[in-house]
Protein backbone atom coordinates (compact mmCIF):
# COMPACT_ATOMS: atom_id res chain seq x y z
CA UNK A 1 0.00 0.00 0.00
CA UNK A 2 1.37 3.35 -1.01
CA UNK A 3 -0.16 6.68 -0.11
CA UNK A 4 0.89 9.79 -1.93
CA UNK A 5 0.08 12.95 -0.07
CA UNK A 6 0.50 16.67 -0.62
CA UNK A 7 0.43 19.28 2.11
CA UNK A 8 0.08 22.84 0.84
CA UNK A 9 -0.40 26.30 2.26
CA UNK A 10 1.39 29.59 2.50
CA UNK A 11 4.81 30.20 3.95
CA UNK A 12 4.22 30.36 7.69
CA UNK A 13 1.57 27.66 7.97
CA UNK A 14 3.96 24.85 8.72
CA UNK A 15 2.97 22.51 5.92
CA UNK A 16 6.54 21.23 5.63
CA UNK A 17 6.60 20.47 9.33
CA UNK A 18 3.25 18.70 9.13
CA UNK A 19 4.61 16.49 6.38
CA UNK A 20 7.74 15.80 8.35
CA UNK A 21 5.83 14.82 11.49
CA UNK A 22 3.66 12.46 9.50
CA UNK A 23 6.77 10.90 7.95
CA UNK A 24 8.50 10.37 11.26
CA UNK A 25 5.37 8.89 12.76
CA UNK A 26 4.90 6.48 9.89
CA UNK A 27 8.60 5.63 9.90
CA UNK A 28 8.37 4.72 13.58
CA UNK A 29 5.50 2.43 12.64
CA UNK A 30 7.80 0.65 10.21
CA UNK A 31 6.76 2.25 6.98
CA UNK A 32 8.92 3.48 4.16
CA UNK A 33 8.52 7.23 3.99
CA UNK A 34 9.73 10.11 1.89
CA UNK A 35 9.23 13.83 2.15
CA UNK A 36 10.22 16.43 -0.38
CA UNK A 37 9.35 20.11 -0.39
CA UNK A 38 8.54 21.90 -3.56
CA UNK A 39 11.59 24.03 -3.83
CA UNK A 40 12.62 26.74 -6.12
CA UNK A 41 11.59 29.73 -8.02
CA UNK A 42 7.91 29.63 -7.57
CA UNK A 43 6.44 32.96 -6.70
CA UNK A 44 8.79 33.78 -3.87
CA UNK A 45 7.28 33.81 -0.42
CA UNK A 46 4.05 32.49 -1.86
CA UNK A 47 2.74 28.99 -1.48
CA UNK A 48 4.73 26.21 0.05
CA UNK A 49 4.01 22.55 -0.33
CA UNK A 50 5.52 19.18 0.21
CA UNK A 51 5.07 15.71 -1.16
CA UNK A 52 4.90 12.87 1.32
CA UNK A 53 4.87 9.22 0.41
CA UNK A 54 4.06 6.52 2.97
CA UNK A 55 4.45 2.99 1.75
CA UNK A 56 4.98 -0.63 2.66
CA UNK A 57 7.69 -0.95 0.05
CA UNK A 58 10.63 1.20 -0.94
CA UNK A 59 9.63 4.38 -2.64
CA UNK A 60 10.29 4.99 -6.29
CA UNK A 61 9.83 8.71 -6.57
CA UNK A 62 9.37 11.14 -3.73
CA UNK A 63 7.69 13.63 -6.03
CA UNK A 64 3.93 13.35 -5.97
CA UNK A 65 2.25 14.51 -9.10
CA UNK A 66 -1.20 13.09 -8.60
CA UNK A 67 -1.85 12.77 -4.89
CA UNK A 68 -4.14 10.30 -3.18
CA UNK A 69 -4.60 12.78 -0.40
CA UNK A 70 -4.26 16.51 -0.46
CA UNK A 71 -4.33 18.82 2.52
CA UNK A 72 -4.61 22.48 1.59
CA UNK A 73 -4.51 25.32 4.05
CA UNK A 74 -5.11 28.36 1.85
CA UNK A 75 -6.96 29.36 -1.28
CA UNK A 76 -4.13 29.41 -3.83
CA UNK A 77 -3.19 25.89 -2.76
CA UNK A 78 -6.73 24.69 -3.20
CA UNK A 79 -6.84 26.21 -6.67
CA UNK A 80 -3.56 24.62 -7.56
CA UNK A 81 -3.96 21.13 -6.18
CA UNK A 82 -7.64 20.25 -6.35
CA UNK A 83 -7.39 19.36 -10.05
CA UNK A 84 -4.43 17.07 -9.43
CA UNK A 85 -5.99 14.74 -6.89
CA UNK A 86 -6.55 11.18 -8.07
CA UNK A 87 -10.11 10.08 -8.70
CA UNK A 88 -11.61 8.84 -5.44
CA UNK A 89 -8.84 10.63 -3.61
CA UNK A 90 -9.21 12.83 -0.57
CA UNK A 91 -9.14 16.60 -0.28
CA UNK A 92 -8.93 18.11 3.18
CA UNK A 93 -9.19 21.87 3.14
CA UNK A 94 -8.96 24.57 5.70
CA UNK A 95 -12.34 26.27 5.82
CA UNK A 96 -10.99 28.96 8.13
CA UNK A 97 -9.08 30.62 5.33
CA UNK A 98 -10.53 29.22 2.15
CA UNK A 99 -13.70 30.87 1.03
CA UNK A 100 -14.00 29.27 -2.40
CA UNK A 101 -15.70 25.92 -2.70
CA UNK A 102 -13.96 22.86 -4.06
CA UNK A 103 -15.51 21.82 -7.36
CA UNK A 104 -14.77 18.19 -8.04
CA UNK A 105 -17.34 15.54 -7.49
CA UNK A 106 -15.14 12.51 -8.05
CA UNK A 107 -13.12 12.90 -4.87
CA UNK A 108 -13.89 12.94 -1.18
CA UNK A 109 -13.87 16.48 0.11
CA UNK A 110 -13.64 17.42 3.74
CA UNK A 111 -13.43 20.88 5.19
CA UNK A 112 -12.00 21.55 8.61
CA UNK A 113 -11.96 24.83 10.46
CA UNK A 114 -8.32 24.41 11.28
CA UNK A 115 -7.37 27.94 12.27
CA UNK A 116 -10.29 28.20 14.65
CA UNK A 117 -9.28 24.95 16.31
CA UNK A 118 -5.77 26.27 16.62
CA UNK A 119 -6.84 29.59 18.02
CA UNK A 120 -9.28 28.06 20.39
CA UNK A 121 -6.40 26.11 21.89
CA UNK A 122 -4.26 29.16 22.26
CA UNK A 123 -2.10 29.22 19.14
CA UNK A 124 -2.49 31.40 16.10
CA UNK A 125 -0.35 29.17 13.93
CA UNK A 126 -1.05 25.53 14.52
CA UNK A 127 -3.68 24.83 11.91
CA UNK A 128 -1.24 22.26 10.59
CA UNK A 129 -1.59 20.24 13.80
CA UNK A 130 -5.35 20.19 13.52
CA UNK A 131 -5.27 18.75 10.01
CA UNK A 132 -2.64 16.21 11.01
CA UNK A 133 -4.82 14.94 13.80
CA UNK A 134 -7.79 14.82 11.49
CA UNK A 135 -5.81 12.91 8.87
CA UNK A 136 -4.74 10.26 11.34
CA UNK A 137 -8.32 9.75 12.36
CA UNK A 138 -9.35 9.48 8.73
CA UNK A 139 -6.48 7.23 7.64
CA UNK A 140 -5.21 5.42 10.70
CA UNK A 141 -3.12 3.17 8.45
CA UNK A 142 -0.83 6.12 7.83
CA UNK A 143 -0.04 6.68 11.46
CA UNK A 144 -1.71 6.63 14.82
CA UNK A 145 -2.17 9.88 16.65
CA UNK A 146 0.15 8.51 19.34
CA UNK A 147 2.91 8.14 16.84
CA UNK A 148 2.22 11.65 15.64
CA UNK A 149 2.68 12.93 19.16
CA UNK A 150 6.00 11.15 19.51
CA UNK A 151 7.04 12.39 16.09
CA UNK A 152 6.12 15.95 16.97
CA UNK A 153 8.56 15.84 19.84
CA UNK A 154 11.27 14.54 17.51
CA UNK A 155 10.57 17.01 14.76
CA UNK A 156 10.54 20.33 16.55
CA UNK A 157 13.63 22.05 17.78
CA UNK A 158 14.45 22.27 21.49
CA UNK A 159 13.44 25.89 21.48
CA UNK A 160 9.95 25.14 20.22
CA UNK A 161 9.24 22.15 22.42
CA UNK A 162 7.45 24.41 24.86
CA UNK A 163 4.55 24.64 22.43
CA UNK A 164 4.16 20.89 22.29
CA UNK A 165 1.31 20.64 24.82
CA UNK A 166 -0.76 23.12 22.85
CA UNK A 167 0.16 21.42 19.58
CA UNK A 168 -0.86 18.05 20.97
CA UNK A 169 -4.15 19.42 22.17
CA UNK A 170 -4.87 20.81 18.74
CA UNK A 171 -3.85 17.56 17.08
CA UNK A 172 -6.16 15.67 19.34
CA UNK A 173 -9.01 17.99 18.64
CA UNK A 174 -8.41 17.51 14.94
CA UNK A 175 -8.40 13.78 15.53
CA UNK A 176 -11.70 13.91 17.34
CA UNK A 177 -13.42 15.68 14.48
CA UNK A 178 -14.01 12.61 12.44
Amino acid sequence: MTNEIIFAGFGGQGVLLAGKILCIAAMREGKYVSHIPSYGAEMRGGTANCSVVISDEDIASPVVERPDICIVLNTPSLLKFEPKIKKDGILIYNTSLINVKPKRDDINIMGIDANSISEKNGSSRAANMAVLGFLSALKPELSSVESLIVALDEAVSERNKKFNPINIAIMKEGFSLK
Partner: protein, 250 residues
Protein backbone atom coordinates in the same frame (compact mmCIF):
# COMPACT_ATOMS: atom_id res chain seq x y z
CA UNK B 1 -10.08 64.13 -14.09
CA UNK B 2 -6.97 62.47 -15.32
CA UNK B 3 -4.70 59.57 -14.52
CA UNK B 4 -1.54 61.04 -13.12
CA UNK B 5 0.11 57.78 -12.19
CA UNK B 6 -0.18 54.54 -14.03
CA UNK B 7 2.10 51.73 -14.84
CA UNK B 8 4.66 52.57 -17.46
CA UNK B 9 4.42 51.48 -21.08
CA UNK B 10 7.72 49.60 -20.91
CA UNK B 11 6.53 47.45 -18.04
CA UNK B 12 4.79 44.22 -18.96
CA UNK B 13 1.32 44.17 -17.44
CA UNK B 14 1.69 40.94 -15.53
CA UNK B 15 2.12 39.65 -12.06
CA UNK B 16 5.76 39.21 -11.18
CA UNK B 17 7.19 36.25 -9.30
CA UNK B 18 8.62 38.55 -6.66
CA UNK B 19 7.57 38.31 -3.05
CA UNK B 20 5.25 40.88 -1.56
CA UNK B 21 7.22 43.99 -0.74
CA UNK B 22 10.29 43.06 -2.75
CA UNK B 23 12.38 46.00 -3.90
CA UNK B 24 13.04 44.49 -7.31
CA UNK B 25 9.48 45.36 -8.36
CA UNK B 26 9.99 49.01 -7.47
CA UNK B 27 13.21 49.25 -9.43
CA UNK B 28 11.68 47.52 -12.43
CA UNK B 29 8.92 50.06 -12.43
CA UNK B 30 11.34 52.96 -12.21
CA UNK B 31 13.47 51.55 -14.96
CA UNK B 32 10.42 51.18 -17.16
CA UNK B 33 9.44 54.76 -16.46
CA UNK B 34 12.90 55.97 -17.45
CA UNK B 35 12.83 53.93 -20.65
CA UNK B 36 9.47 55.49 -21.43
CA UNK B 37 10.54 59.00 -20.71
CA UNK B 38 13.81 58.75 -22.61
CA UNK B 39 12.11 56.80 -25.39
CA UNK B 40 14.68 54.06 -25.17
CA UNK B 41 12.51 50.98 -24.92
CA UNK B 42 13.12 49.92 -28.50
CA UNK B 43 16.83 50.55 -28.25
CA UNK B 44 17.53 48.67 -25.09
CA UNK B 45 19.02 45.29 -24.36
CA UNK B 46 18.77 44.12 -20.79
CA UNK B 47 21.16 41.62 -19.30
CA UNK B 48 19.48 39.72 -16.50
CA UNK B 49 21.59 38.25 -13.71
CA UNK B 50 21.20 35.01 -11.88
CA UNK B 51 19.32 36.02 -8.79
CA UNK B 52 15.70 36.74 -8.02
CA UNK B 53 15.66 39.13 -10.95
CA UNK B 54 16.72 36.44 -13.42
CA UNK B 55 13.33 36.82 -15.06
CA UNK B 56 13.57 40.60 -15.30
CA UNK B 57 13.34 40.26 -19.07
CA UNK B 58 9.83 38.93 -18.61
CA UNK B 59 8.75 42.17 -17.00
CA UNK B 60 10.30 44.79 -19.22
CA UNK B 61 9.37 45.16 -22.85
CA UNK B 62 12.93 45.10 -24.10
CA UNK B 63 15.27 42.57 -25.62
CA UNK B 64 16.82 40.45 -22.92
CA UNK B 65 19.73 38.11 -22.43
CA UNK B 66 20.47 35.87 -19.49
CA UNK B 67 24.02 35.90 -18.22
CA UNK B 68 25.65 33.22 -16.11
CA UNK B 69 25.83 34.06 -12.42
CA UNK B 70 28.06 37.08 -11.94
CA UNK B 71 28.97 37.54 -15.58
CA UNK B 72 26.41 40.15 -16.60
CA UNK B 73 28.89 43.01 -17.07
CA UNK B 74 31.05 40.85 -19.34
CA UNK B 75 27.99 39.74 -21.29
CA UNK B 76 26.89 43.36 -21.51
CA UNK B 77 30.35 44.23 -22.80
CA UNK B 78 30.00 41.65 -25.55
CA UNK B 79 26.63 43.06 -26.52
CA UNK B 80 27.77 46.65 -26.47
CA UNK B 81 30.84 45.93 -28.57
CA UNK B 82 28.48 44.76 -31.31
CA UNK B 83 25.45 46.94 -30.68
CA UNK B 84 27.39 50.14 -30.23
CA UNK B 85 24.37 52.38 -30.62
CA UNK B 86 22.05 50.46 -28.33
CA UNK B 87 21.45 50.95 -24.63
CA UNK B 88 22.81 48.02 -22.65
CA UNK B 89 21.80 47.51 -19.04
CA UNK B 90 23.33 45.07 -16.62
CA UNK B 91 20.90 44.49 -13.75
CA UNK B 92 22.44 42.58 -10.85
CA UNK B 93 22.06 41.51 -7.26
CA UNK B 94 24.70 41.67 -4.57
CA UNK B 95 25.73 38.05 -4.76
CA UNK B 96 25.92 38.29 -8.50
CA UNK B 97 27.76 41.59 -8.71
CA UNK B 98 29.94 41.58 -5.64
CA UNK B 99 30.72 37.93 -4.90
CA UNK B 100 31.11 35.65 -7.88
CA UNK B 101 31.09 38.59 -10.28
CA UNK B 102 33.68 40.78 -8.54
CA UNK B 103 36.15 40.49 -11.39
CA UNK B 104 33.65 41.22 -14.13
CA UNK B 105 32.26 44.14 -12.14
CA UNK B 106 35.60 45.81 -11.54
CA UNK B 107 36.93 45.28 -15.02
CA UNK B 108 33.87 46.47 -16.91
CA UNK B 109 33.94 49.56 -14.71
CA UNK B 110 37.63 50.02 -15.24
CA UNK B 111 37.30 49.73 -19.01
CA UNK B 112 34.57 52.30 -18.77
CA UNK B 113 32.26 50.26 -20.96
CA UNK B 114 29.44 52.47 -22.11
CA UNK B 115 26.84 50.50 -20.21
CA UNK B 116 24.64 51.06 -17.17
CA UNK B 117 24.97 48.75 -14.21
CA UNK B 118 22.04 48.67 -11.81
CA UNK B 119 23.04 47.07 -8.55
CA UNK B 120 20.29 45.83 -6.25
CA UNK B 121 21.82 45.59 -2.80
CA UNK B 122 19.48 43.68 -0.53
CA UNK B 123 22.18 42.40 1.79
CA UNK B 124 21.32 38.78 1.06
CA UNK B 125 21.17 36.06 -1.54
CA UNK B 126 17.48 36.23 -2.30
CA UNK B 127 16.99 33.60 -4.93
CA UNK B 128 18.77 30.80 -3.14
CA UNK B 129 16.88 31.36 0.06
CA UNK B 130 18.81 33.77 2.17
CA UNK B 131 22.53 33.11 2.44
CA UNK B 132 25.13 35.65 3.46
CA UNK B 133 26.01 38.16 0.76
CA UNK B 134 29.12 40.33 0.53
CA UNK B 135 26.79 43.13 1.60
CA UNK B 136 25.17 41.32 4.52
CA UNK B 137 25.34 43.55 7.59
CA UNK B 138 27.48 42.92 10.63
CA UNK B 139 25.88 40.31 12.91
CA UNK B 140 23.05 39.73 10.45
CA UNK B 141 21.77 36.18 10.71
CA UNK B 142 21.41 34.36 7.42
CA UNK B 143 21.26 30.75 6.33
CA UNK B 144 25.03 30.61 6.13
CA UNK B 145 25.79 32.97 9.00
CA UNK B 146 23.55 31.28 11.55
CA UNK B 147 25.42 32.94 14.40
CA UNK B 148 25.37 36.34 12.72
CA UNK B 149 27.96 37.78 10.34
CA UNK B 150 31.24 37.77 12.21
CA UNK B 151 33.17 40.56 10.56
CA UNK B 152 36.42 39.44 12.11
CA UNK B 153 36.06 36.12 10.35
CA UNK B 154 34.37 36.91 7.06
CA UNK B 155 34.97 40.63 6.74
CA UNK B 156 32.84 43.72 6.73
CA UNK B 157 30.07 44.29 4.21
CA UNK B 158 31.61 45.59 1.01
CA UNK B 159 30.68 48.99 -0.30
CA UNK B 160 30.49 48.70 -4.05
CA UNK B 161 30.35 52.38 -4.97
CA UNK B 162 33.40 53.16 -2.90
CA UNK B 163 35.31 50.33 -4.52
CA UNK B 164 34.42 51.36 -8.05
CA UNK B 165 35.07 54.97 -7.26
CA UNK B 166 38.80 54.18 -7.08
CA UNK B 167 38.82 53.56 -10.85
CA UNK B 168 39.38 56.20 -13.48
CA UNK B 169 36.90 55.59 -16.23
CA UNK B 170 33.45 55.41 -14.63
CA UNK B 171 31.36 58.44 -15.47
CA UNK B 172 28.63 58.26 -12.93
CA UNK B 173 28.37 56.49 -9.59
CA UNK B 174 25.52 56.95 -7.14
CA UNK B 175 23.96 55.05 -4.29
CA UNK B 176 20.19 55.28 -3.80
CA UNK B 177 17.49 53.38 -1.98
CA UNK B 178 13.87 52.39 -2.46
CA UNK B 179 12.79 52.20 1.13
CA UNK B 180 10.53 55.23 0.90
CA UNK B 181 8.95 57.52 -1.63
CA UNK B 182 11.52 60.26 -1.43
CA UNK B 183 14.31 57.83 -2.08
CA UNK B 184 12.39 56.06 -4.79
CA UNK B 185 12.11 59.34 -6.60
CA UNK B 186 15.82 59.94 -6.15
CA UNK B 187 16.54 56.49 -7.49
CA UNK B 188 14.52 57.21 -10.56
CA UNK B 189 16.48 60.37 -11.21
CA UNK B 190 19.70 58.44 -10.89
CA UNK B 191 18.59 55.74 -13.28
CA UNK B 192 17.48 58.33 -15.75
CA UNK B 193 20.74 60.18 -15.59
CA UNK B 194 22.69 56.99 -16.03
CA UNK B 195 20.74 56.03 -19.12
CA UNK B 196 21.00 59.53 -20.50
CA UNK B 197 24.77 59.42 -20.09
CA UNK B 198 24.92 56.11 -21.85
CA UNK B 199 22.78 57.46 -24.66
CA UNK B 200 25.13 60.40 -24.96
CA UNK B 201 28.07 58.04 -25.24
CA UNK B 202 29.65 59.25 -22.03
CA UNK B 203 30.51 55.86 -20.63
CA UNK B 204 30.06 53.62 -17.65
CA UNK B 205 27.50 54.36 -14.99
CA UNK B 206 26.81 52.51 -11.77
CA UNK B 207 23.67 52.94 -9.71
CA UNK B 208 23.47 51.05 -6.45
CA UNK B 209 20.00 50.67 -5.00
CA UNK B 210 19.45 49.56 -1.41
CA UNK B 211 16.46 47.29 -1.54
CA UNK B 212 14.25 45.10 0.60
CA UNK B 213 14.15 41.32 0.74
CA UNK B 214 11.49 40.87 3.41
CA UNK B 215 11.24 37.14 2.76
CA UNK B 216 14.80 36.29 3.53
CA UNK B 217 15.18 38.90 6.20
CA UNK B 218 12.21 37.21 7.86
CA UNK B 219 10.29 40.43 8.38
CA UNK B 220 7.17 42.11 7.05
CA UNK B 221 7.67 44.41 4.08
CA UNK B 222 7.30 47.64 6.04
CA UNK B 223 9.73 46.40 8.65
CA UNK B 224 12.06 45.60 5.80
CA UNK B 225 11.83 49.14 4.49
CA UNK B 226 12.52 50.42 7.98
CA UNK B 227 15.53 48.15 8.29
CA UNK B 228 16.96 49.60 5.12
CA UNK B 229 16.57 53.04 6.59
CA UNK B 230 17.83 52.23 10.06
CA UNK B 231 20.54 49.66 9.44
CA UNK B 232 21.64 49.76 5.84
CA UNK B 233 21.62 53.47 5.08
CA UNK B 234 23.92 54.38 7.95
CA UNK B 235 26.51 51.89 6.66
CA UNK B 236 25.89 52.47 2.97
CA UNK B 237 25.65 56.24 2.72
CA UNK B 238 23.21 57.42 0.08
CA UNK B 239 25.20 59.77 -2.04
CA UNK B 240 26.52 60.78 -5.38
CA UNK B 241 30.09 59.57 -5.73
CA UNK B 242 30.88 60.73 -9.19
CA UNK B 243 29.10 62.71 -11.83
CA UNK B 244 30.20 63.27 -15.36
CA UNK B 245 33.60 61.83 -14.48
CA UNK B 246 34.10 64.20 -11.60
CA UNK B 247 34.57 62.78 -8.16
CA UNK B 248 32.28 64.34 -5.63
CA UNK B 249 34.05 65.10 -2.39
CA UNK B 250 32.21 65.09 0.86
Amino acid sequence: MCKIYSYPESLVDTKTHYCAGCGHGIVHKLLAECLDELELREDTILVAPVGCSVLAYNYLKVDGLEAAHGRAPAVATGIKRVNKDKIVISYQGDGDLLAIGTGETIHAANRGENITVIFINNAIYGMTGGQMAPTTMENQVTKTSPYGRDVSDVGYPIRACELINTLENPVYIERCSVHDVKNINRTKKALKKALQYQKDGKGYSFVEVLSMCPTNWGVKPQAGADWVRDVMVPYYPLKLFRDNKEKIND
